[in-house]
């Protein structure tokens, strides 16, 4: 993880043509899909700057649509992701916004909606070589990359949430590599992001959810 591996050089194995505009786009959408953890009825994508300008020629749209259907960067189904989405009855819409300036040139917003109306928006950046970072969840600024096992706790910005979550993790012997807190405003909605080198088993989630200040949980397993 913390060294350059042989397979960082001879790799990644990926659907072309571009590590940033294709593989990176898959990785952002795949994270959005993993975070959502629900069936997707409708997906909206807004592509900015370089993604908007050269995305069509790089298949960025197919990559994004593949990612939210759970396809990885080396999945040959990406080329046919429109047809596969159509067959599954998935609604999708792309906005190619080449006017708005964003912090990073390869930026996309992804809005996912489940059949029962649950909505999640994320903003992702493709920062080169297929590597990415998520910089917003539901309009709150965050930063994580999905390189580590990542637990995201949406909660009320009130005392005790961090203590509760770290206690559960500590009880199960999970070593926290990184931990950060974000919120929209004082007393509003917060996001606690915990990254770990080891896997964070699903059954911890129920214990974390027992705290009434916890609104929602997302987990990305490496």
């Amino acid at each position: 993880m913390n060294y350059i591996s042989l397979f960082d050089v001879i790799g990644p194995n990926m659907i072309g043509p571009s590590s940033s505009h294709t593989a990176g786009a898959v990785n952002i959408a795949l994270l959005a899909y993993q975070l959502f953890r629900r069936p997707i009825a409708k997906a909206e994508f807004t592509l900015y700057e370089s993604f908007a300008q050269t995305g069509r020629g790089h298949g960025t749209d197919k990559a994004l649509l593949g990612g939210i259907q759970g396809f990885g960067t080396d999945d040959v189904r990406i080329r046919d992701s429109y047809a596969i989405a159509d067959a599954a009855g998935l609604q999708y819409h792309f906005t190619w916004d080449d006017k708005t300036k964003t912090a990073h040139p390869n930026t996309v917003d992804i809005r996912l909606e489940s059949p029962d109306g649950h909505v999640q928006t994320i903003r992702g950046e493709s920062v080169g070589g297929g590597k990415i970072r998520i910089v917003q969840i539901n309009d709150i600024d965050v930063v994580f990359t999905g390189v580590y096992s990542t637990l995201i706790v949406k909660h009320a910005d009130r005392p005790g949430v961090v203590a509760h979550v770290t206690k559960v993790l500590s009880n199960h012997g999970v070593n926290i590599a990184f931990m950060r807190l974000y919120r929209d405003y004082k007393g509003g909605t917060g996001y606690l992001i915990v990254e770990s080198d080891e896997s964070i088993p699903d059954y911890f989630l129920e214990e974390i959810r027992e705290n009434e200040l916890v609104h929602d949980l997302m987990l990305i397993q490496i």
Partner: protein
């Protein structure tokens, strides 16, 4: 004893002290740092080779146009000339200037870029834009010399060691340092791998890699319409030709006076001094010509070097 290294000099010392080729040191490093077994590394390398095999061969039987239509079918045209290498010169349909091995390697390298541009599966080596050089060389030579899969893996391991040093101590991103950092790096990796596979010493591998970096110093990244198609595909062909040439020089005992680590540093400094227009912005070089602009926008839409 640790097999980790951070410079060419350290890698060379590990080879000398242990009497090992570069590939074996790189394998040791991967096993050590990844806390994995040799078998798991070889299983992943086997997968890399499978994907490479498919990507060098597919476009020869079934050429596909790229998303933009700028490329598609070139590999087959070159391969056709290689396929008639046994035909007497006077009866050839087209010239075979490069000989069988190089012609086939060029065809294969261009095939991978066709697969890449048509949203097929490739192994970035070290990047998607330079993904044809290494498999083009290793797989064509493997066919000609009948190399085992294990030997082909040694080629990838050797190339991986050189590529790692370029990635760690310079960059392999065209946006940072131009095409010299992508095809230049791939060519250096491949030159070194070919030397080892042909029986050369670690010393010769470094000489070949230094020569390969030196020959492509300053190569700019100027993709038409910002797409990984033109001039990327033919640059992969020159990456292979340069690798073969430098491997031949090194195997013949020719040396480059500047050590590999200094060439890595030189490549990085040259790259950083390239203007922004020549680092993957699709504004300069081929992309900045009136024709490049027309191919990108249908007309010269402004923003290019000639607007």
């Amino acid at each position: 004893m640790s097999m980790d290294f951070t410079t060419g000099k350290e890698l060379y010392q590990l080879c000398e002290e242990n009497g090992l080729p570069i590939s074996a040191v790189m394998l040791g490093r991967e096993i050590e740092l990844g806390s994995v077994s040799e078998q798991s590394v070889r299983e992943r390398l086997d997968r890399s080779l499978q994907i490479m095999e498919a990507s060098v061969h597919e476009p020869l039987g079934q050429p596909r146009r790229s998303l933009s239509g700028l490329i598609g079918g070139e590999a087959w045209k070159v391969y056709r000339t290689a396929a008639q290498s046994g035909v007497p010169y006077a009866e050839k349909e087209s010239a075979v200037l490069c000989g069988e091995a190089l012609t086939r390697a060029i065809a294969y390298s261009m095939a991978v870029l066709e697969v890449n541009a048509a949203m097929g599966l490739i192994v970035a080596a070290p990047t998607a834009g330079s993904s044809g050089v290494l498999p083009g060389a290793v797989l064509s030579l493997a066919e000609i010399y009948g190399w085992s899969e294990e030997k082909q893996m040694d080629g990838l391991l050797n190339a991986g060691a050189i590529g790692y040093l370029l990635m760690r101590n310079a960059t392999v991103a065209g946006a940072e340092a131009g095409c010299q950092a992508e095809v230049g790096a791939a060519s250096a990796m491949t030159a070194s791998a070919v030397v080892e596979l042909m029986g050369g010493t670690p010393e010769m591998c470094f000489q070949a890699a230094s020569l390969a970096v030196s020959n492509l110093l300053g190569l700019v990244c100027d993709p038409i319409a910002g797409l990984v198609e033109v001039p990327c595909q033919s640059r992969n062909a020159i990456g292979v030709a340069n690798a073969f040439t430098c491997a031949q020089l090194a195997l013949s005992g020719i040396t480059h006076p500047v050590p590999f680590d200094e060439m890595v540093e030189a490549m990085y400094r040259v790259g950083r001094s390239l203007p922004w227009e020549l680092r993957e912005s699709a504004k300069g070089g081929n992309a900045g010509t009136p024709t490049g602009c027309r191919l990108a926008f249908g007309k010269c839409a402004g923003g290019c070097a000639n607007s």
